[in-house]
């Protein structure tokens, strides 16, 4: 897909995100908006996905296709919107987000059989381990497709992340592309103040990863280019880590760059102000 088209999809996804969070007056818009360009680039451009008649087909095993795991499950709005816009489930279902009897739980889960979701996440630090397991499964199945996982930068404070960081190079899990959303914010404030995990690149390099640093994580062309470069590095005995610099709340001016919009929903006025900044390119649900 052309960059311009991907950007249009991203604008619609951002509309979905603020509307979903507004609709239930809860959820996490900040990180969702910041990772929108990445998820759109993955699902609408980079990932090899099983499709029939131009529509994605979901099965739990995902053999023969690339897989994506969201470890920082609180940014579920962006994943739900991208999955729906891609065609995994009906777009109007986005309106049920975080409401009773919905398949769109606050944090993603396969428990409600939502197409596109393969693991529960929300309790942080587990997703990279899960992705490693799925990558090992692909190797055992002689399946040469790739496994992606997204984590938060605050999430790097979880000890299990470093167990996985040690494991993947040791076992040469080179069909794994991990991405850290480097937005520098977490609930209690700037990550550097709460618990500084400085020099993540040096840390992962020291653990044996192939590390890429991408400064323009909200520039679609840069994100797509980085994802292709990462793919070209796969299969060379090392897992790949992309440190993706993003802006929390990107795309909605008053939400940008502050941890205050980590887990707060906009009111009616704020919603209108946000939507005025985002093109309705695919039609609201």
């Amino acid at each position: 897909m052309e960059i311009e088209q991907l950007e249009k999809v991203a604008a619609q996804v951002r509309r979905d995100i603020v509307r979903m969070v507004h609709g239930c007056q809860s959820g996490h818009p900040g990180g969702s908006l910041g990772c929108t360009d990445l998820l759109v680039a993955l699902y609408f451009e980079r990932m090899k996905l099983k499709e029939e008649d131009g529509k994605p087909v979901f099965d739990m095993d995902g053999n023969g296709e690339d897989l994506f795991f969201l470890s920082n499950g609180h940014i579920s709005p962006v994943l739900y919107s991208v999955l729906a816009r891609k065609g995994y489930f009906p777009v109007p279902e986005l309106a049920t987000f975080r409401k009773l009897n919905s398949r769109l739980q606050g944090h993603p889960t396969p428990h409600e059989h939502l197409e596109g979701i393969r693991i529960a996440s929300g309790s942080l630090g587990q997703g990279m381990s899960v992705a490693i397991g799925a990558a090992l499964s692909k190797k055992l199945n002689k399946d040469d497709s790739l496994v992606y996982v997204l984590m938060g930068d605050g999430e790097q404070q979880e000890g299990q992340v470093w167990e996985a960081a040690m494991f993947a190079p040791h076992h040469k899990v080179d069909n794994l592309i991990a991405i850290i959303d480097l937005n520098g914010q977490q609930i209690d404030g700037p990550t550097a103040k709460v618990m500084d995990n400085r020099d993540l690149g040096a840390k992962y390099e020291a653990f044996g990863w192939e590390v890429m640093e991408v400064e323009e994580g909200n520039d679609m062309a840069s994100v797509v280019k980085a994802l292709y470069e990462a793919k070209s590095k796969a299969g060379h005995a090392k897992p790949i880590m992309i440190l993706l610099r993003t802006g929390m709340g990107y795309g909605v001016d008053f939400m940008m760059g502050s941890h205050k919009w980590h887990g707060v929903a906009p009111n009616d006025e704020q919603l209108a102000a946000a939507l005025a900044q985002l093109e309705e390119s695919m039609g609201d649900y």
């Binding site: 428990h111 587990q126 899960v130 499964s137 055992l140």
Partner: protein, 318 residues
């Protein structure tokens, strides 16, 4: 009282290792994972024949559980192995989110459960694992009684789709069940029929219950002994059928009396058919260092304790 004899003693963990060896040969999807305890889990024969299907995780149990969850995606059947303490308490949230809530086909196989790991002491003697695991929705909890039954259970859980906690131990104990048994998950095993008291035992306590049954018989008391190898799902029908006849119950387990087999049975009794029940279990405490035999005696988990509990239960009958 049905007579049980044995010619050999072995540890239940070796039954697990033997089961894994057989699974390695007949099920190409079975993958073994271990957190630096290959020898203790008796995995060497599996690893020797299937090196590509063994994943050494190092001392990183949390990662091991979540990697196991990921391995199921693509159709693998991961057996995640370590000591029971590190397989449950240490990684409860990983099991809860990545395995149970995600509905993953992971087999958590835990050795050195209970007091009988002995000298290592309370840090390693988990007595709360059954409780933690049975509280997770969708989790199957199995605690077999000897080498043969552990081997059969290991093979059986590979064919069952869903998360399983399989608990076994370190001490060498008599082999008294059949080598060719077919293990039925959730189906209690009638060890010996009786009429005066029902003894529901699990794991290492089944052999103690058999010895207790013989002592009771010598005193003219007829004990019905039932092996509850599957604590969840619980065979309620077998329990109710037995207490309908005997009108009193004893539960026996190498576990805290809170949250274990005894409480599961008590729920069945309270809900359906009120009869007296006595617990043989660790009385809400941690263990300590000692030989397995010393610990079982000090913490009240011997045949003599079951005999005393049976008499108390009978005395309370209306």
């Amino acid at each position: 009282m049905k007579k049980y004899t044995f010619t050999e003693k072995k540890d239940t963990r070796s039954g697990f290792g033997a089961g894994m060896h057989e699974l390695g040969q007949k099920n190409p999807n079975v993958v073994a994972l271990c957190a630096d305890l290959v020898g203790s889990l008796k995995l060497e024969p599996f690893i020797k024949e299937n090196p590509e299907r063994f994943v050494q995780c190092g001392i990183s149990e949390a990662n091991m559980i979540s990697v196991s969850a990921g391995l199921t995606i693509g159709g693998k059947i991961p057996f995640a192995t370590t000591f029971a303490n590190f397989a449950t308490g240490r990684v409860y949230d990983q099991i809860r989110q990545s395995v149970a809530y995600s509905g993953k086909n992971v087999k958590i196989c835990a050795s050195h459960a209970g007091l009988t790991l002995g000298e290592d002491g309370a840090t390693h003697q988990i007595l709360e694992d059954i409780g933690m695991m049975k509280m997770l929705p969708g989790m199957t909890v199995i605690n077999p009684c000897d080498y043969n039954q552990t081997k059969a259970a290991t093979i059986a859980i590979a064919d069952y789709e869903g998360p399983v906690y399989l608990r076994f131990g370190r001490p060498v104990i008599p082999i008294f069940t059949a080598a060719d048994q077919v293990f039925e998950i959730g189906k209690a095993w009638m060890v010996s029929e009786g009429t005066d008291v029902s003894i529901f035992a699990t794991g290492h306590m089944v052999w103690e219950a058999i010895q207790a049954g013989e002592q009771l018989e010598a005193e003219g008391i007829s004990a019905e002994i039932i092996n509850i190898h599957t604590i969840k799902p619980l065979d309620e029908e077998a329990i109710l059928k037995s207490i309908a006849k005997t009108r009193c119950a004893v539960s026996a387990e190498e576990h805290n009396r809170i949250g274990g087999l005894g409480d599961s049975i008590a729920q069945v009794i309270v809900k359906n058919d009120l009869v007296p029940q006595e617990y043989v279990a660790v009385d809400d405490s941690f263990g300590e260092s000692g030989t397995p035999a010393q610990l079982m005696e000090k913490y009240g988990l011997t045949a003599a304790d079951i005999v005393a509990a049976a008499k108390r239960a009978i005395a309370k009958k209306k």
